[in-house]
């Protein structure tokens, strides 16, 4: 079987996988990093969003083999320590931006990418536009938008 090596959340990892293994399967099944979810498997819902070399992508539509040598960040890698949340995670908690929580890891990874591209001062309209690729089945968008605005600000501190 083909071999793949990449860095996930700062740690080097390798695996022997079938060529057809998706990145999200590799993360969840081989590495047991189950924070990255599969909501649709058709590139629509954004539950599977991770960062590849710093850029948000849908891990259900990437082959793990394509990530040879890449740097991957998942929701498990964003908090600064075991006991502390990342400011964006903290903002989601503070603003009650989740109900069932299924979409949340993807929402947070996308939110961090919005901050990367658009900066720390985000108006609601921008956030809503930029969340085009993330669906929340519980439709808690209002609080998600609030949380991302607050989290983006908190990240500047």
């Amino acid at each position: 079987m083909p071999k793949v090596s990449m860095t996930v959340n700062g740690k080097p990892v390798t695996g022997d996988i079938e060529a057809r293994t998706l990145l999200v399967q590799f993360l969840r099944e081989n590495l047991r990093l189950t924070g990255t979810h599969v909501g649709c498997d058709t590139s629509q819902c954004g539950a599977c969003v991770v960062h590849v070399n710093g850029v948000a992508m849908k891990s259900c539509t990437l082959l793990a083999l394509q990530l040879e040598g890449a740097n991957v960040l998942t929701i498990e890698g964003v908090a600064p320590s075991e006991t502390q949340l990342h400011p964006m995670q903290e903002a989601f908690r503070e603003h009650h931006a989740l109900q069932c929580g299924y979409c949340t890891p993807g929402m947070i990874m996308s939110a961090l990418d919005i901050v990367r591209r658009k900066g720390n001062e985000l108006d609601d309209h921008t956030i809503r536009e930029e969340l085009d690729g993330n669906l929340c089945r519980c439709t808690g968008y209002h609080n998600i938008v609030k949380a991302i605005g607050a989290g983006a600000k908190a990240m500047a501190k």
Partner: protein
């Protein structure tokens, strides 16, 4: 999805050799059309040849009176290209409407052009600007390249390397976006470069992207929405599905062409200052 063998060439030449050796292989660019189709088992390539490690294939640059975009350039990088926004904003605006932010971070212009999805945006931009598709073997004019839905003039063993867009003084794209998929229900690209006037339509035609000669003719006198006021195209040959009837699509072609013309003339040195009539 069915399994396959995976190859990661470092150069276009290596990719071409692999393609020659594996007749059932497919090229993998952004993969955001191909991987979904493979998941549905509608495509079953024996091998995938991943072009993503070929650095020479990515980038946007101005060369003389053209903008040259490498085949592996991601939608987000085309949309954010400062130089493109300056010299050809009508083209820079196209990839920003594709999919969603994460899809734009991965999808590529070469993949979109090679796939020639009948609802995709880039084919309209290529045809509307009279682009040249450059492969590892030859140059193909956009007019000859798109040969019907999901089909192109590309031959076996042919790889798109870059797309060259002539810099048009006036150019704009208007799209009626399907609210769920983000694809163009109808999209119209208009451009004027000297006496060359083009109106290209995606999403509407049952046979993929096409030009509207009657509009182009009418625009020769004056490149303005007024020149095609009230004009429409026949509904025959238009696509029909649950989203829109052929008549509605034909109607949208006229409406969007007028909107695109208004945008293009407001952007370039306007023939008719401030014209936004004829919506």
């Amino acid at each position: 999805m069915y399994n396959f063998t995976y190859h990661r060439p470092a150069t276009v030449r290596q990719a071409a050799n692999l393609l020659a050796k594996n007749p059932e292989a497919k090229l993998l660019a952004g993969g955001h059309s191909l991987i979904p189709v493979m998941k549905l088992r509608l495509a079953q390539p024996s091998a995938l040849i991943d072009l993503n490690q070929i650095d020479e294939l990515a980038g946007v640059e101005v060369k003389g009176r053209s903008v040259v975009i490498g085949a592996l350039t991601r939608h987000a990088d085309v949309a954010n290209s400062q130089v493109l926004q300056q010299v050809l904003p009508g083209l820079a605006s196209v990839p920003g409407s594709i999919g969603d932010p994460q899809v734009r971070n991965r999808g590529t212009i070469g993949g979109s052009v090679a796939n020639n999805d009948p609802n995709a945006d880039y084919p309209a931009a290529c045809l509307g600007l009279g682009a040249t598709i450059v492969t590892n073997k030859r140059r193909i004019a956009a007019d000859d390249f798109f040969t019907g839905m999901f089909s192109t003039a590309l031959e076996e063993n042919e790889i798109i390397v870059k797309v060259m867009f002539p810099i048009a003084k006036k150019a704009a794209y208007e799209k009626f976006k399907h609210p769920a998929s983000g694809f163009a229900l109808v999209g119209v690209f208009v451009a004027k470069r000297g006496s060359d006037i083009r109106v290209a339509v995606t999403g509407a035609g049952a046979n993929g992207v096409f030009r509207v000669k009657s509009f182009e003719e009418a625009l020769k006198k004056r490149f303005s929405p007024k020149s095609i006021e009230g004009m429409t195209i026949p509904a025959t040959g238009m696509n029909s599905d649950i989203h829109a009837s052929p008549e509605y699509r034909a109607h949208l072609v006229g409406v969007l062409a007028r909107r695109a013309l208004a945008k293009a003339t407001a952007r370039g040195d306007s023939d008719v200052p401030g014209a936004i009539a004829g919506m």
